[in-house]
């Protein structure tokens, strides 16, 4: 264990040194850099951090937990109870049992409430993140397939599109101004994609620059905070609306998920 953390420390120092060295040059391809960092993890640790989160999620999924002492194997992500293969590809979607449109994280939380008997405020964010990584791992590299059909899904898609264009706060920002009008450009070194180009197809992902797992909600929260807007509370409607909007657009652009969980900067 000590050995591993030493190794990781060494790698991070190496990565940091290299990334500083690399930022001195004008042309750094952030995608190639992520690929390189990923290979370094593979070679030295033998496992990717995202896979560790997924393994932790798998354990949580099968474990009998909560006041009712049951596992999450009865949780239906839209393809039937416990059916996880490809489940992420069709989320967010409407669920009759909760009578709301839910994304992956919200669905995990509502299953923990309905099946395991947790109260919403008892649910640990880290558990939801690990569980998200696990469920997502079963949709690795699959085509995104979010097509709003029910009136509830269409309503959330429309809400998401409205939030997408909502300019606010001191930086006068919205999502569209960078992720549509100037998609293909760069903010500092970060390439910016539009939903049609597949934005959102890598989450949940391990971000090597932050050394953390980010779910799609975490990533949206980060975006809001970086433009001076306080992040919405987790599992709230703005996340679900924006997710269904982005993923439905990504579907129109015929995009696939990356390796899941993703590995990115």
């Amino acid at each position: 264990m000590r050995d591993r953390s030493l190794w990781i420390g060494f790698l991070l120092a190496l990565g940091l040194g290299l990334s500083i060295a690399l930022t001195q040059q004008p042309e750094v391809d952030p995608y190639k850099e992520a690929e390189r960092q990923r290979e370094l993890f593979r070679q030295t640790a033998g496992i990717l951090p995202g896979e560790l989160y997924a393994a932790q999620g798998e354990e949580l999924f099968a474990q009998k937990r909560g006041p009712r002492n049951v596992s999450l194997e009865g949780c239906d992500f839209g393809l039937g109870p416990g059916k996880l293969e490809g489940a992420l590809t069709q989320l967010p979607r409407y669920f009759a049992d909760t009578r709301r449109v839910e994304d992956l994280e919200t669905r995990i939380a509502s299953c923990m409430v309905r099946l395991q008997g947790f109260r919403l405020e008892q649910i640990k964010r880290d558990d939801v993140k690990a569980l998200s990584a696990y469920v997502a791992s079963k949709s690795s590299e699959m085509p995104i397939n979010v097509v709003p059909r029910t009136s509830q899904e269409i309503a959330l898609y429309n809400l998401g599109r409205e939030l997408w264009y909502h300019r606010a706060a001191d930086r006068d920002m919205n999502c569209a101004i960078c992720h549509d009008s100037y998609a293909g450009g760069k903010v500092r070194l970060s390439p910016v994609r539009s939903p049609r180009q597949g934005l959102s197809n890598e989450w949940p992902a391990y971000r090597f620059e932050a050394d953390k797992l980010y779910t799609l909600q975490d990533r949206i929260a980060f975006c809001y905070e970086s433009v001076g807007i306080a992040a919405p509370e987790f599992y709230s409607e703005p996340y679900i609306a924006l997710s269904i909007y982005m993923l439905a657009e990504a579907t129109k652009g015929k995009n696939k998920f990356t390796e899941m969980p993703g590995f990115t900067r």
Binding site: H166, A169, A176, I177
Partner: protein, 187 residues
């Protein structure tokens, strides 16, 4: 006579109220924003022109442009000493600072700065324009309130929102226009 006047006023008031009522969809949007919590909702509040840009997806119809620009121009404030060209060195620090100008996110400036974004036009050599009164004022105005020249521009209204004070805006103006600034030094 007085009664009729009061009645008319009441009618106008009612008409005004019903016109300013948000549509059911807008009410639903507000409900969704509220569900994100009070901090989120607070920072998502819009001023009327932010709302207008959102409504028209950042492309205002031509008939609204004139009045929009006029409203935005009226928001520009100038330094008390009247000098729109400040100290380029202080301007450089503000240009870099992500909590202030954060200009490198989208623009090049000093060509030695690697990793500048490219969402905005490159500014290397911006000072070629000279420092006539018109150039200085245009540059100052653009930095203080980008929406006064380009409705719904991606560029935020740094001065209007108080991210840059009028004096600080003059410093950034100097960073772009001063012959000694790295933006303009020929290599």
């Amino acid at each position: 006579m007085k009664k009729r006047y009061m009645f008319g006023l009441l009618a106008m008031l009612l008409a005004g109220l019903s016109l300013s009522q948000p549509s059911p969809f807008q009410q639903r949007v507000q409900q969704a924003i509220q569900s994100g919590g009070s901090k989120f909702a607070e920072t998502m509040k819009q001023d009327p022109d932010q709302a207008l840009c959102s409504q028209y997806r950042d492309k205002l119809p031509p008939e609204l442009v004139g009045a929009f620009l006029e409203r935005q121009r009226a928001l520009i404030k100038y330094p008390a000493n009247g000098k729109l060209l400040g100290d380029w060195k202080q301007g450089e620090a503000l240009f870099i600072n992500v909590r202030k100008g954060n200009c490198y996110a989208c623009h090049t400036g000093d060509p030695k700065e690697a990793g500048a974004g490219n969402m905005g036009p490159g500014l290397v050599g911006y000072g070629q324009r000279g420092t006539s009164e018109a150039v200085v004022k245009y540059t100052y105005d653009k930095i203080f309130n980008a929406w006064a020249t380009m409705p719904c521009s991606l560029m935020y209204r740094a001065g209007h929102h108080g991210i840059l004070t009028p004096e600080e805006t003059a410093h950034v103006t100097a960073f772009l226009l001063d012959r000694a600034s790295p933006v303009n030094v020929q290599r």
